[in-house]
């Protein structure tokens, strides 16, 4: 890539030639961005001089709304900020409340939560594995990704009743017990998805055009990753070996990422768009392994409840706690401050996409405009998760 400054002729025919930097607004409503993220890009010809993500077009005041709702009602909102990882969002909140209450959650609930969190992770990653090639101009992969998503959503719907917003967690466990035969259907679906995944895989990683668009494009180095607080698959694609499921185990991840568990942390060192995509793809495999392990563990657990009996009015004792979980897109944290009321006094939300998008300004500088969409898509964000 040559960095030599070039001149762009803006107006021809008026007699003189004028060159100027051009300010280009990508979004807030733009087909190449998902949701309403606005990028203000200063261009010198084809080259991006400066890029500034402008957020806030989808701000819904979620944190303020949390303060006037009890903990069950908060779940409704909490699973919506990142609509592709609804189950993981619920988990962070209930874990925070349970820890402050000092509540013991039944083992079957913990394993079911782990199973569903991993299925949710697969669903999330499949979405991006389908939509990212779409942004690069390949239409086919999304059909394959959605075929797998449909099957996984069917089992999620069977247990929770929802396809995206599960509302299946409750403080102290789960809303309902598992339907009869559900574990078998989960296992069959996992096997089916795993069998058909090579179709999607060969379309994505085996594709020469996709390689050309992604290899060496948008390289994010570890220093930038740590200084911006980037997390999740994007951080791991840059070689940062960090995963809260292993480093700060919650739910049943202690065992899953233990010596003989199927869990492992996927990392790459490239830091480019291709590395990010590969991390996502491999995480799908790992998550399917973990989900299968959970199904087996659930089958061998002895009879027991999946929730605990709650008081009519649930009040969290005074104090503060911070619980972070490894959401599909990165670290998702809830800082819960309670003053002993039935609503939190403050519930701060640390969402993954906000930090992951903040780095765009650094990342897009000096790249070509044509690569902008490739880089933007590879940051794997959900706009609702940025604006909250």
């Amino acid at each position: 890539m040559t960095q030599a400054p070039r001149e762009l002729t803006v107006g021809v025919g008026a007699g003189g030639l004028a060159t100027a930097d051009m300010v280009l607004n990508i979004g807030p409503q733009h087909p190449a961005t998902h949701g309403v993220l606005r990028l203000r890009i200063t261009l010198d010809g084809e080259r991006v001089l400066k890029a500034e993500p402008i957020v806030g077009y989808m701000h819904r005041g979620a944190e303020k709304l949390f303060e006037v709702r009890d903990y069950r009602q908060i779940l409704v909102l909490a699973n919506r900020h990142d609509w592709l990882s609804a189950f993981s969002n619920e988990i962070g909140l209930v874990l925070a409340v349970e820890r402050m209450l000092g509540m013991d959650v039944p083992e079957r609930a913990t394993w079911t939560r782990t199973l569903m969190a991993e299925l949710n992770r697969v669903l999330n990653h499949l979405m991006f594995l389908g939509s990212y090639p779409l942004e690069l101009g390949a239409i086919t992969p999304i059909f394959y990704a959605f075929r797998e998503r449909e099957d996984l959503q069917a089992v999620m719907e069977e247990i929770s009743g929802g396809r995206m917003h599960y509302m299946f967690n409750r403080v102290g466990g789960l809303r309902d017990d598992l339907p009869s035969g559900w574990l078998g259907r989960v296992e069959a679906t996992i096997a089916q998805v795993r069998r058909r995944l090579p179709d999607l895989e060969s379309l994505i990683v085996g594709n020469e055009i996709l390689h050309a668009r992604t290899r060496g494009v948008g390289v994010l180095d570890v220093g930038v990753v740590t200084s911006y607080g980037v997390s999740g698959p994007i951080a791991r694609a840059s070689g940062l070996d960090i995963d809260l499921r292993r480093d700060q185990p919650y739910l049943a991840y202690d065992e899953v990422f233990g010596a003989d568990g199927p869990g492992r942390v996927v990392t790459r060192t490239g830091g480019d768009c291709q590395a990010r995509l590969e991390v996502l793809l491999e995480q799908v495999h790992v998550s399917l392994d973990i989900a299968e392990y959970c199904v087996q563990r659930l089958g061998s657990l002895e009879r027991g409840p999946v929730n605990v009996k709650l008081p009519k009015v649930l009040k969290v004792p005074e104090g503060a706690d911070y619980v972070a979980t490894e959401n599909p897109l990165g670290m998702n944290g809830y800082y819960l401050v309670s003053r002993g009321e039935k609503t939190p006094w403050r519930l701060k939300l640390r969402s993954a996409s906000f930090n992951n998008v903040a780095v765009l300004g650094e990342l897009l500088e000096g790249t070509l405009l044509a690569d902008m969409v490739a880089i933007l898509g590879s940051m794997f964000f959900v706009v609702g998760d940025i604006d909250k």
Binding site: R69, R72, Q73, L75, V76, L77, R80, R108, R147, E150, A154, E157, E158, I159, S160, G161, G162, H165, M167, R175, D176, D177, L178, P179, S180, G181, W182, L183, D199, L298, G299, L301, E302, R303, G304, P305, V306
Partner: protein, 215 residues
């Protein structure tokens, strides 16, 4: 050029592979659903629409209060039921005038159904109630009642689930009257002892049948 030669070589197997995939896919049935002709097979827990069994509703307003976005509207008035023939007293009863759910606001969380103490609200998997005008999404009492026949029975639970509270209560061995010295054991015959706990007992251990889940 070495690059183009390599590309030329990889073109043929690549093409063959592509054709093989096409041929394989051709023999398989389509994965898509023929939606308007073939209805999707939705699980019983599917959250499609909320059905109201108005007879069970006591207008206690719990659902309206617990709704995270306050999309349930309830109006009721009190009616007096005159005393029965053999010298009772007049009773007051809530009569439901209006029960409406605004599905343009509803977030489909299911909290109203969960909190209803009298089993008046149910999920139904029906989903075909889109409207051209958003105001028509406000379903009144009779419209909500029309969904009632579509409510499926709840699915059977997995073997690992604890037995239902009703079953646990029914299987509990009958309690023998306590042989206590002092005042005679309340209840006397053991048939009465299993039916309901005496009011003096601590609230943690009522027989499972009367904790509200089994009216």
């Amino acid at each position: 050029m070495a690059g183009s030669k390599k590309r030329g070589r990889s073109l043929v197997p690549g093409l063959m592979k592509g054709m093989a995939t096409t041929a394989r896919t051709m023999t398989r049935p389509a994965h898509t659903q023929q939606y308007p002709d073939v209805k999707p097979d939705l699980p019983p827990r599917s959250r499609g629409v909320i059905a109201l069994l108005a007879e069970n509703c006591t207008s206690c307003m719990l659902c309206a209060r617990e709704c995270p976005d306050w999309c349930i509207y309830i109006d009721s008035h009190k009616e007096t039921i005159p005393a029965g023939p053999e010298g009772g007293r007049d009773r007051q009863q809530n009569v439901l005038d209006r029960f409406a759910i605004d599905f343009s606001l509803c977030m489909y969380c299911g909290i109203c159904i969960e909190v209803c103490p009298f089993d008046a609200l149910f999920w139904s998997p029906e989903f075909e109630y889109a409207e051209l005008d958003i105001r028509d999404l406000l379903h009144e009492k009779d419209r909500l009642g029309e969904w009632m026949p579509t409510v499926p029975p709840p699915p059977a639970l997995t073997a690992g689930a604890p037995e239902a509270t009703e079953v646990a209560a029914a299987n509990k061995p009958a309690r023998t009257p306590r042989t206590r010295t002092g005042p005679a054991a309340a209840g006397g015959p053991d048939a009465a002892a299993t039916a309901a706990s005496p009011p003096a007992r601590p609230p943690e251990r009522p027989p499972a049948a009367d904790d509200g889940t089994a009216p």
